[in-house]
């Protein structure tokens, strides 16, 4: 903190060296400058974290609260809806994230090839979904994937399917639809990370591999992937967090109905975040229980991130 001040006071070095109380006063200025950030951080970050932890030990009916200790957490294990949410979240996480990351990696490797024409156009095109609003693209997909929507009509007219696929009306297909949508939205985003990572991979490696007779496949697995490892870890951690907090897509895919009882057919799209929302705003407002669910997410994200770092084995 104090490091700022000597610089700005170079002219007065003599004075500065001698006068200790002045140095201390500079220290105070340092603290004052930092204090704004610290106070803001404390109010808007640390306080909510601590407070929500306390809240998670309460059972509430609106403002009528009572202390229940760890009962909220115990209740979670018997709460079918929560367990469904957990299951769904993990289905999305286990299936969608690897597919998306692999796809992004392959696309990045292809688009990094300098001999490809219109590279920029392709790169932009694939990245573009990442700038669309989550709600807008979900609604668009919902229209495309409706029973007599664009996708079914296309598949029918190409004679790939005989009967329209009940995209959003069957638990299995509903999940598939959300995964397709998420892959469309996020692949380009991850691809950009890989592309930028690839800029740091020296061409000499590929040249040397070429001379040694390594195929493109071998180059991909033995040069590209190892060189990108830190970035792969980063994207997989980010995707993990993103998937565990999945909210917009399931919410918007399922929203509506005359009154929309479940999130997707048979709650097939219910994720933990959506459940938190429902606990707060759709059901009897039990903010305490909702806080407990959100701490489960925090806990899971922490565990999964640790596992990913360990598996990636970054010993440095």
């Amino acid at each position: 903190m104090a490091e700022i001040t000597p610089n700005s006071l170079k002219k007065n070095t003599k004075f500065f060296k001698r006068n200790k109380s002045f140095e201390r006063s500079l220290n105070i200025y340092g603290w004052i400058f930092v204090s704004i950030a610290v106070i803001l951080l404390a109010i808007f970050l640390f306080y909510p974290i601590v407070n929500s932890l306390i809240l998670s030990t309460m059972s509430s009916k609106g403002i009528v609260q009572k202390f229940v200790g760890l009962n909220n957490y115990k209740k979670l294990f018997h709460d079918e809806v929560f367990l469904t949410g957990l299951k769904n979240t993990f289905i999305f996480f286990i299936i969608q994230v690897p597919i998306m990351l692999l796809l992004a990696l392959i696309l990045a490797a292809i688009l990094n090839d300098k001999t490809i024409k219109f590279r920029g156009v392709f790169r932009t095109g694939i990245f573009l979904p990442a700038v669309t609003s989550l709600v807008a693209y979900t609604i668009l997909f919902k229209m495309m994937f409706s029973l007599d929507g664009f996708i079914n009509k296309g598949l029918l007219s190409m004679h790939i399917i005989k009967n329209p696929i009940p995209w959003l009306m069957d638990p299995f297909w509903a999940r598939v639809t959300v995964m397709i949508a998420m892959t469309w939205r996020w692949t380009g985003y991850n691809m950009v990370f890989y592309l930028s990572g690839l800029q740091n991979v020296p061409d000499e490696l590929y040249e040397a591999a070429d001379i040694d007779g390594a195929s493109k496949m071998q180059q991909f697995f033995h040069i590209t992937i190892p060189m990108l490892k830190p970035i792969i870890v980063f994207t997989s951690v980010m995707s993990t967090i993103g998937t565990l907090q999945l909210f917009d897509e399931p919410m918007n895919f399922s929203q509506g109905g005359v009154t929309g009882a479940t999130i997707g057919p048979g709650n097939s799209l219910l994720t933990m975040s959506v459940y938190i929302y429902n606990l707060c705003f759709k059901y009897m407002p039990n903010f305490g229980y909702a806080a407990a669910v959100s701490y489960v997410i925090v806990f899971l994200v922490a565990i999964l991130s640790i596992i990913q770092f360990k598996v990636a084995g970054d010993k440095k």
């Binding site: 209740k75 709460d79 029973l147 705003f281």
Partner: protein
């Protein structure tokens, strides 16, 4: 060095603007507070209202505002339109946090949620007992906003349900309007099969995970997911068993067009793909939106369940106005609701004609608009019919957990459709889940 100075400057500018931001807010709220003391005496002030649906609630509120302002020109109105979910979310967070600034004076709350708000936020809503004459409103509406003998809201629109059908399709299948009066759901399915066979059209647009129709069936039998004391009655509820079985029969009969979400559901009958809709009266606007179908629609009473006590009248949705205890213009807000919503007969005629809003203010239902023939519905006096049915709607206790129950039951429905679970087993599963969730 220059850079550092610059960044320090930047931080300071940010900090100052932040503080300035805070200050600004305070002054504005001070101004509003200053207005408050003189408000009740001279009837000046500002009523803030939160509601959803620009074509319905908001438009109706604007009409009410104009009527009130004729008498009280000094009262300002701020009618804020938000999505329904946003109104609920905002209200929950504000009431939960305990802040009093920024609360509206009047808020629209869906009837299913009424008790939830009243019991979750004691003291947040103004007690209107004696300030509004509740005896003039439909009984079932008043009972759902009563807590410990006190009535907290002003009943607004009715969700009285009806069986809307396409006369041309039904005629093709050999049914006359008389054949459709006061039928049971079993008869409905039978008719649907014939319609499907003769016209190729589905009888209903149907969301497999939509519990709306089930609530119509339940209330027609005077039952709900909870009994009068709020205890869960799911597994041993005859009406509910019958309703779930009927859902399965409807799906199995192949008389539905499966839809997902509101838009598809509305599109199904707007496009002429389905022969009927069974839902609340508020759908009239959406049905009429397809002008080319004018004269081809009619309304019959809601089908009833095959259980004792079930009647051919029910309800789906509907909402009411509530006054916030801590609102800045509470007294004017109450006066406003009392003058217009609980006293202006003409107002109810106007909103019925303009918006198709069926109020639950009983004196208004003798008005001329209610007895008008509607060309869209083949000159049927639909609103006379609807207001007649309103009186027959069984009053039920919606309790605090309607949406939890709805979700718990609709979550087991896929297994019921597929035959994996019997109706009894499914309801048992739903009840266990529900009890765990609400902690009983």
């Amino acid at each position: 060095m220059k850079k550092r100075m610059l960044s320090i400057l930047l931080v300071m500018v940010l900090a100052v603007s932040l503080l300035a931001g805070c200050g600004k807010k305070e002054t504005s709220s001070n101004q509003e507070q200053q207005q408050q003391p003189q408000a009740p005496a001279e009837k000046t002030g500002k009523i803030t209202i939160w509601a959803w649906d620009p074509n319905f609630n908001i438009a109706i509120m604007n009409e009410a505002k104009e009527r009130y302002q004729k008498e009280n020109p000094k009262v300002e109105f701020e009618i804020v339109e938000m999505a329904k979910a946003d109104v609920e979310q905002k209200l929950h967070t504000m009431l939960q946090s305990g802040v009093k600034d920024g609360l509206p004076d009047i808020v629209l709350i869906e009837d299913y949620n009424a008790q939830k708000y009243l019991q979750s936020y004691p003291g947040a809503f103004a007690d209107l007992t004696g300030k509004i004459d509740h005896s003039k409103f439909a009984n079932y509406k008043v009972s759902l906003m009563t807590l410990d003998g006190k009535v907290y809201g002003v009943p607004f629109d009715s969700g009285v349900s009806g069986f809307f059908y396409r006369t041309d399709y039904l005629a093709q299948a050999g049914y006359k309007p008389e054949d459709l009066n006061n039928i049971t759901w079993d008869k409905f399915i039978e008719i649907g099969k014939k319609v499907k066979a003769k016209t190729g059209k589905a009888m209903l647009g149907f969301g497999l995970d939509d519990g709306g129709l089930m609530r119509i069936m339940l209330q027609s039998a005077g039952q709900w997911y909870f009994d009068k004391d709020g205890n869960v009655t799911v597994a041993n509820n005859e009406a509910l068993k019958e309703a779930v079985a009927t859902y399965k029969k409807i799906v199995d009969a192949g008389i539905i067009k499966k839809t997902s979400g509101w838009n598809e559901w509305v599109a199904a009958f707007n496009k002429g793909d389905t022969a009927s809709v069974v839902t609340g009266v508020w759908i009239v606007g959406s049905v009429k939106a397809e002008a080319s179908q004018s004269g081809k629609w009619a309304v019959a009473p809601t089908p009833k369940l095959n259980v004792s006590g079930s009647v051919n009248a029910s309800n789906l949705g509907g909402s009411s106005w509530y006054v916030l205890e801590n609102g800045k213009s509470k007294d004017i807000a109450i006066d406003f609701l009392n003058k217009i919503y609980a006293g202006d007969n003409d107002f109810y005629q106007k909103i019925l004609v303009d918006r198709g809003a069926v109020g639950t203010y009983m004196p208004a239902q003798g008005g001329e608009a209610y007895s008008k023939e509607d060309a869209f519905f083949g000159n049927q006096k639909v609103y006379t019919d609807f207001s007649g049915w309103i009186g027959n709607i069984p009053a039920v206790n919606y309790g605090l957990y309607t949406y939890e129950a709805d979700a718990a039951i609709m979550a087991v429905m896929p297994d019921v459709y597929s035959g994996k679970l019997t109706v009894d087993a499914a309801l048992k599963k739903a009840e266990d889940q529900l009890k765990n969730q609400i902690g009983k």
